[in-house]
């Protein structure tokens, strides 16, 4: 090929690339992005507190059973200064972490096994979905018979609640790996474990993260149900504090504990949400949606 043809092609190619790429980058400042994501949440929170205050002012319930936001806020501040709340959070979070980590291990292993083996899929594939629809609180009578009123009973139900969701996420993720990527991976020399490491696992990651997020929601709910039912083994867990607050008719304590439980749930959910957004940004799904 004569040299002049070669340089012509090079110039054309980089010109075309420049035209194609132009206008794709749009940058908004970090502060603006955070503010855009934050203010609707703050507005919604303010609205919720306002409605709460209005209901209290309306005198629908006596103030000793439904206190207003101010009273509960004061109680929350008082609790935050006492060891009892932090002990409760520590006990509950330790249970949540142990149960969830174990659920993740079980869910990932079972999910991977079912996704790989047609026999296992035929045998227990639909059972995993069935387990997922079972309300976790319905497991407690059996759990209490098996393990009595103990940590083990709570652990048993937490794992049964979370593991099926995680396993289902793995199965869905592996099932929906685009066949084209599998063919490309095999052609590039990926076989067996290599194919899992370089193609299947990363391609399945979004669905796995969705499963992990749902698994967390289920385990958190199961844990709260467990702590309400299985009282007496520990004085301080958040669920136990709810029960005592009800028995003592201490509604500010009860509501402030509920707020703590809600905030913990939201914080963990935000972590999963951030992971999900990061993955989608890497994959370019967010850009295509025009966000």
């Amino acid at each position: 090929m004569p040299p002049d043809t070669l340089t012509r092609t090079d110039a054309e190619l980089s010109g075309l690339d420049a035209l194609e790429i132009a206008g794709r980058q749009k940058e908004t400042s970090r502060g603006a992005r955070i503010w855009a994501a934050t203010w609707p949440k703050l507005a919604a929170l303010a609205l919720a507190v306002a409605i709460w205050q209005l209901v209290v002012l309306s005198g629908w319930k006596p103030p000793w059973s439904l206190p207003g936001p101010l009273v509960v806020g004061e109680e929350l501040l008082r609790q935050a200064g006492s060891a009892q709340l932090w002990d409760g959070i520590a006990v509950t979070l330790r249970r949540a972490a142990v149960g969830y980590v174990f659920s993740v291990a079980v869910g990932l292993l079972v999910g991977l096994a079912v996704a790989r083996s047609t026999v296992l899929r035929a045998a227990i594939g639909s059972m995993i979905t069935a387990l997922q629809t079972m309300p976790s609180i319905a497991w407690f009578p059996l759990a209490i018979l098996l393990f009595e009123l103990s940590e083990k009973a709570i652990f048993f139900v937490v794992v049964l609640g979370a593991a099926p969701s995680i396993a289902n996420g793995v199965i869905a993720g592996v099932d929906y790996v685009p066949p084209l990527l599998l063919r490309a991976g095999r052609n590039l020399g990926a076989h067996g474990l290599g194919l899992y490491r370089y193609v299947i696992a990363p391609a399945a990651l979004p669905a796995i993260v969705a499963g992990l997020k749902q698994g967390w929601a289920f385990s958190w709910r199961s844990l709260m149900a467990g702590e309400l039912l299985v009282v007496g083994i520990s004085q301080t867990s958040l669920g136990a504090q709810l029960t005592y607050a009800r028995e003592l008719a201490d509604s500010p304590w009860l509501l402030s504990t509920m707020i703590v439980i809600l905030v913990i749930g939201l914080l963990v959910d935000a972590v999963f949400g951030a992971a999900d957004t990061a993955i989608r940004r890497r994959w370019g799904v967010l850009d295509q949606a025009g966000r």
């Binding site: 090929m1 004569p2 043809t5 070669l6 092609t9 090079d10 054309e12 190619l13 980089s14 075309l16 690339d17 194609e20 790429i21 794709r24 084209l180 990527l181 063919r183 490309a184 991976g185 095999r186 052609n187 590039l188 020399g189 990926a190 290599g194 370089y198 193609v199 990363p202 391609a203 990651l205 993955i279 890497r282 994959w283 370019g284 850009d287 295509q288």
Partner: protein, 259 residues
């Protein structure tokens, strides 16, 4: 594919197909996709396979790539080389940067990190994407993605390139430029290319030899050597004349399937 089957002929044949048959399905749903296809591709030859829908072009490439097994017949690739395969879609891994995509086949072969980095840089220069290594596939245009896919396939260091309508989804101008690019890389690296397309002009622009496949079942019905000197232009009269002849043959073949 094993070294023991390599014969003295491998010096003159890069890819040899003899009596390759592929049957899909079972019982009454049986479909004969390829029927006794025999073909010898010389080392360094650029062969275009042309045919209408259902001629089993893609099936043929899958078989040569070793992604599927033939129902009958033999496929030999010289020196047991594993051919590289490119698709109509770039099939890049969206979770990896451009560099990391090109690096995957090198990692899978266990090449050390420093050598990998050097090879990736060299390959990206080859496809004129040296400045785009840190980008992700979704940030690039279709033509650029296909060049990344080409660099990734070249990273296999294979002498045989199989291309399944690789430029089918691109606009005409990008396609023209990529024809020049592919021709250059093919010459520089002494590649043997088996290129599937339904675009007759593209075949006449690129090929040393055009092979026409019939539809259902896929059989080789005609072939011609393209003696037009390179570099060629897709709009030159010589290329157009070859394309016209192939089109006529293709139309006759499609007409046979009229109800």
């Amino acid at each position: 594919m094993t070294p023991t089957t390599t014969t003295p002929e491998s010096a003159t044949t890069a890819v040899a197909l003899s009596g390759v048959t592929k049957v899909y399905g079972r019982g009454t749903n049986v479909v004969l996709a390829l029927d006794r296809v025999s073909l010898d591709v010389r080392p360094g030859e650029f062969v275009c396979l042309v045919g209408a829908s259902g001629c089993g072009k893609s099936t043929l490439l899958n078989l040569v790539a070793g992604l599927d097994r033939p129902s009958g017949g033999d496929i030999t690739v010289a020196d047991g080389a594993r051919p590289g395969l490119m698709f109509q879609e770039p099939a890049l891994f969206p979770w990896l940067t451009v560099e990391a995509n090109v690096e995957v086949p090198l990692k899978l072969r266990g090449i050390p990190r420093a050598a990998r980095r050097e090879r990736v840089a060299e390959l990206l220069r080859t496809v004129h994407l040296a400045d785009f290594g840190r980008k992700r596939p979704h940030e690039l245009s279709g033509g650029m993605r296909q060049r990344v896919a080409l660099a990734r396939t070249l990273a296999l260091d294979t002498p045989v390139l199989l291309m399944d309508e690789p430029f089918g989804a691109l606009d005409a101008m990008t396609r023209d430029i990529l024809h020049d690019e592919l021709e250059r890389i093919w010459t520089e690296r002494n590649l043997t290319v088996l290129f599937v397309t339904h675009n007759v002009r593209e075949a006449a622009r690129l090929a040393d030899r055009i092979i026409l496949l019939s539809s259902r079942p896929g059989r080789i019905i005609w072939s011609t050597d393209v003696a037009v000197p390179r570099p060629r232009r897709i709009d030159s009269p010589e290329v157009a004349a070859i394309a016209a002849e192939v089109t006529d043959r293709l139309r006759t073949e499609v007409g046979r399937h009229a109800a």
